[in-house]
């Protein structure tokens, strides 16, 4: 953030951006090709944490809408309404669609027909 009382630097004193890589030894490489399955499982577990956090934010909003103080006890005591449950479910499904898009595009492309061959439109 700018400090209002700091005088502007002279052109010959312009600060270089910090270097963001380390010189010296190459980064160690530990993961092996088969490890990517485990990384994927971690990713799915992390999605669960993101989803739980989002639900907690939504409970904050629900408690506030009811006019209550947002305390840990109020969050634990909040009873989810069927409507709010359905909205959360739709949000979770939408999140999965976004995260899994790179997977599902293979399925969707398999049924995609009717486009002109690329060679016809590029030449």
């Amino acid at each position: 953030m700018d400090q209002p009382d700091t005088p502007p630097r002279q052109p010959d004193q312009v600060r270089q951006p910090r270097r963001r890589f380390a010189r010296g030894q190459a980064r160690p490489a530990y993961l092996e090709p088969g490890d990517v399955d485990r990384v994927m499982i971690m990713l799915v577990a992390l999605m669960s944490e993101v989803s739980a956090l989002r639900d907690r934010v939504d409970t904050h909003e629900a408690v506030a809408e009811l006019g209550g103080a947002i305390t840990s006890a109020a969050i634990e005591a909040y009873e989810l309404t069927p409507l709010r449950h359905a909205v959360r479910e739709a949000n979770r499904e939408a999140m999965l669609s976004r995260v899994f898009r790179v997977i599902t595009e293979g399925r969707d492309a398999a049924t995609d027909t009717g486009a002109a061959p690329l060679a016809e439109v590029v030449s």
């Binding site: 999605m47 989803s51 989810l80 997977i103 398999a110």
Partner: protein
């Protein structure tokens, strides 16, 4: 759909409930989007490419698998399905472990109970149970965390509901209800005095028998102590009389001819073939003349190699190593070897009670003791 509350059903904190909801949504996305998508990719892309190259259809499961393995959709969908399976038990297990003292206490027998429970800490756990955590559920159905432990029972009761995103009903009992209804409809004159559910788990396949045949005494046995202790407490809190005991169903302590109906549901596909044969043999010993034994299974193998690949998904991805042997079992011979007459073998199908459009019909196979 929410699970029906009973005294033993674990409760969740806000964040635990949120994680459960995520696993359910994930399981639903896998079951209704990713899994059916494998067929789309196969039919629309992989199979036509194979036919164009080789001038013939893929003929074996291995060919279908190798073909699909080249698709990132297939690889990605499978690892998501596996991740959901692992996440399910870890998520539910954390919540149950936190409140296990309360559940253990609630499950204990009390004066005025409608039914009974017998644990057997000396029961030898069969190697096939101890070596494989079915469904990748750590600890499987039998591991004891303490005396009076109910962990594995609570884990399965709560986990199945999350797994099926409520699809087996508020009591997880859809399959048991369907099986009992099939027997009642097929044998309208049957008046069973005693009914046995082999491999009863938390009892959601056992109690439907009492509801279908209120005059019968209903028994559930399981090799897992935590299952029968939890099943007892659950049955009592639901107000249904049943007798649970920790036993190996291939060698029980019941007298000859004690039962008129002997059933299992979703048990035999987790058992090696010799164990399935052992269950049928013990059923023959325990049945009274005119009694029936009935199990899920005996579905006709799919003719298409890709269909066979899909039906082996749990075997390949969820630690069900015995399901292939279950599918190839010669049931007629197994029942004959167990002592039943070939002419007394029965087969049936019934729509599942829940998720009718998503689950295939339940196939049932059994035999009547003449």
């Amino acid at each position: 759909m929410f699970q029906e509350r009973h005294a033993l059903l674990p409760s969740e904190t806000h964040d635990e409930a949120a994680r459960y909801a995520f696993v359910s949504t994930l399981r639903k996305a896998f079951t209704t989007q990713l899994f059916p998508g494998m067929r789309t990719v196969y039919q629309e892309a992989a199979r036509p490419a194979f036919v164009a190259k080789h001038g013939r259809e893929p003929e074996t499961v291995r060919e279908a698998r190798e073909l699909m393995q080249r698709s990132f959709f297939y690889r990605g969908a499978n690892v998501v399905g596996r991740a959901a399976q692992e996440l399910l038990w870890d998520t539910v297990g954390e919540s149950i472990e936190r409140q296990l003292d309360t559940i253990d206490e609630a499950a204990k027998p009390k004066p005025g109970d409608l039914g009974t429970v017998r644990s057997n800490p000396d029961l030898a756990i069969p190697r096939y149970i101890d070596a494989v955590d079915i469904h990748v559920m750590p600890g499987n159905f039998h591991t004891e965390l303490a005396p009076d432990d109910t962990f594995a029972g609570a884990l399965y009761d709560r986990g199945v509901h999350v797994f099926a995103f409520g699809g087996l009903g508020a009591r997880n009992d859809g399959l048991g209800v369907a099986q009992a209804a099939w027997v009642k409809e097929t044998y309208p004159d049957l008046k069973p005095r005693r009914i046995l559910d082999m491999g009863c788990g938390p009892g959601f396949t056992t109690l439907p028998w009492k509801e279908a045949f209120p005059d019968a005494e209903v028994y559930g046995i399981d090799v897992g102590g935590p299952q029968v202790r939890y099943a007892h407490g659950r049955a009592e809190s639901l107000g249904i009389a049943a007798h649970f005991s920790q036993q190996d169903a291939t060698a029980t302590d019941f007298p000859d001819g004690y039962f008129d109906v002997i059933a299992s549901m979703l048990v035999t596909h987790e058992c090696p073939q010799p164990v399935i044969r052992g269950l049928f043999k013990e059923a023959h010993r325990l049945l009274a003349p005119g009694g029936i034994t009935i199990h899920d299974g005996g579905a006709t193998a799919a003719s298409d190699p890709f269909d066979n690949l899909l039906t082996s998904w749990f075997g390949d991805n969820a630690n069900e190593p015995f399901s292939a042997g279950f599918k190839s079992l010669d049931y007629d011979q197994a029942f004959v070897d167990a002592g039943f007459n070939r002419s007394a073998i029965v087969r049936g199908t019934r729509d599942p009670v829940y998720l009718k459009d998503q689950l295939p019909p339940i196939t049932l196979v059994g035999a009547v003791k003449e």
